[in-house]
Symmetry: C2
Subunit: 359 residues, 2 copies
């Protein structure tokens, strides 16, 4: 019998088409008519051409944009892989709802609607307002001993993200930023990076929120043991098996959102290491997703650069941030909007009375 | 007799004090109380600590900020160093006034007031509105044959920038972005980089607005001849002599503005290669200026990285832009504002009910 998770992914990814290359060419042609030296806007030109190709020309400002922060807990925290107690996931969700976290400040400043989603926090929020209540279960199991999720849990988490992408389109959004909160989830992201791409744990494992040398070494050893536990017998495990065994509920929800958002021709701005691990899973499941992805920033986590390279993504910002919460995706929004504004509002040579370069 | 230019510089630089290190420490202490892992905002933390140190704690939003775009022509264009005819300086000033250029679009989007300053454009603007009429003369002389400026022209251009910095403070501004427009001025910036820092012309010379290989080689040879013409007898010419012989009127005005703005404790966001050559001159004249400088972006011009390294400046953005006009300074503004917003609006651990990291 086909696992439920596979059916969810097939449904989410059904009919994804990559960005339209004819629209990308048209965008490049328009960029070359603007009153500036050819190509002189650099990455901004690539960015807006990508958006035009994704959106088939519909890139008007103001952008209708939102950031989704998926929160979940991780059984692996029992092994001491994080500098913070796992209760901080719950506490930070309350901080998001009280508007006190970094992503709140950035979203407010840059006009981005913030949605906080409980996919698997190990606490009861009752009916607290302002939270999207999509709890699948109270966190993953300790992946050093068991698969992080059952197939049903994985399926439900994928669906959470896919359904929110559908709701986003219904609400008129054209661009999504994707982030997360989950103490312990850099351990999942590192394990995913290793399992998907064959890297050693020492290459793909950083200090998370601030481990010292000894704790960092323990984290690497833990990830090596996790990989051995789940994948020793498999040279290239399937992406869904990787996600189920060593992922997280928030990572699965982001994967589901990315697959569905790409199908719906939304531009997807990916945050740091953990969000990019979800993007890598989505691309492994359906390569056509790649063209819809925008990397907001490059995080300090060493595994992030490995993932960005494998996805051929060049991050907009490199500010040495390592916070998560979607912060690195939201802070890239004004740069993306700059690219769109330049594209749509600059004068063109033909009417501005400015001479062009000699051939 | 002391040259007039020296008197202007001494007056502008009188009483510059570097950013206050006690305020920087206080800023760091506050950053460590915010609900985020220690140091996890990366460069944003350095940036806001610098601003707090420059402004002695006064970093409230919204920032009162403006961009000054200094325009002037260059006699060296007679030697074919640019892909564009020198008439484009005049044409682009008109484009700025008509709101059609890249910097107009970016300034509008990010709430930055744009001031366009004619310091030395080779055209009459009569009394056209919206332009700051500060013309010193109709462009520099061809520096392959003569010094670019007389001492009096240099002095007047330095004063233009210094006086505008004073007016900016009177108008309540706290942050200035500095940019320029002047066909041929990457040749000046390359010559300044070589003369100040001893680099060879081939290392410090790029393709400007888009030279092909042959024209690039000619530009390098021209700069070598210029350096030989003016500095063959001097192993380390004075910064003012460098500026007078191979600079530009817009570069001198930016140098004057930077010196005066640093004295007035304004934060100064520097644009690309040409603006940074003015910053390097200002620092060579008065090293205490350095702490007031913020590099908006890293340009594609190879000389820019040399200057940034020598000034120990780490640019906020690296978008492969090479446009000038202040565009790379203005597009960094939302990132600077993000840093201030995070600093002033995030919740602190003590009151948000979030656990801190284990020691």
């Amino acid at each position: 019998m086909t696992p439920l998770s596979t059916k969810v992914v097939m449904e989410s990814a059904r009919g994804i088409v990559p960005p339209d290359e004819l629209w990308r060419i048209r965008a490049r042609q328009r960029l070359d008519t603007l009153t500036k030296p050819l190509g002189s806007l650099g990455r901004l030109e690539d960015l807006v051409a990508q958006l035009v190709a994704i959106r088939h020309g519909h890139v008007a400002l103001p952008l209708s944009k939102a950031v989704y922060v998926f929160a979940a807990d991780h059984g692996i925290t029992a092994e001491g892989v994080s500098a913070y107690p796992s209760a901080v996931t719950h506490q930070m969700v309350l901080n998001f709802l009280a508007e006190g976290a970094a992503v709140n400040v950035l979203a407010r400043l840059h006009g981005v609607t913030l949605h906080v989603v409980d996919v698997g926090v190990d606490a009861n929020f009752n009916n607290i307002k302002g939270l999207l209540h999509r709890k699948v279960c109270y966190g993953t199991k300790n992946m050093l001993r068991d698969a992080a999720m059952t197939d049903e849990e994985l399926s439900l988490a994928l669906l959470v993200g896919a359904q929110l992408a559908n709701e986003a389109v219904d609400a008129g959004l054209t661009m999504l930023a994707i982030g997360e909160m989950g103490i312990g989830n850099t351990t999942s992201a590192s394990a995913i990076t290793c399992a998907l791409m064959g890297y050693s744990a020492s290459l793909a494992t950083g200090r998370g929120t601030g481990l010292d040398d000894a704790a960092h070494a323990r984290k690497i050893a833990t990830i090596e043991a996790i990989l051995k536990r789940h994948f020793a017998a498999q040279t290239s495990p399937s992406p869904l098996e990787v996600l189920r065994c060593v992922g997280g509920l928030e990572i699965a929800a982001m994967t589901g959102m990315i697959l569905a958002a790409a199908r719906l021709r939304l531009a997807i701005v990916v945050d740091g290491f953990i969000a990019t691990s979800a993007a890598a899973l989505a691309v492994a499941l359906e390569p056509k997703v790649q063209g819809s992805l925008i990397a907001g920033h490059r995080s300090e986590e060493p595994g992030h650069q490995l993932l960005l390279d494998s996805l051929a993504l060049s991050p907009i910002l490199n500010l040495q941030m390592r916070l998560g919460e979607g912060s690195g995706a939201v802070i890239a929004m004004p740069i993306i909007e700059s690219a769109i504004a330049l594209y749509s509002q600059m004068a063109i040579f033909a009417t501005a009375g400015v001479s062009e370069a000699s051939a």
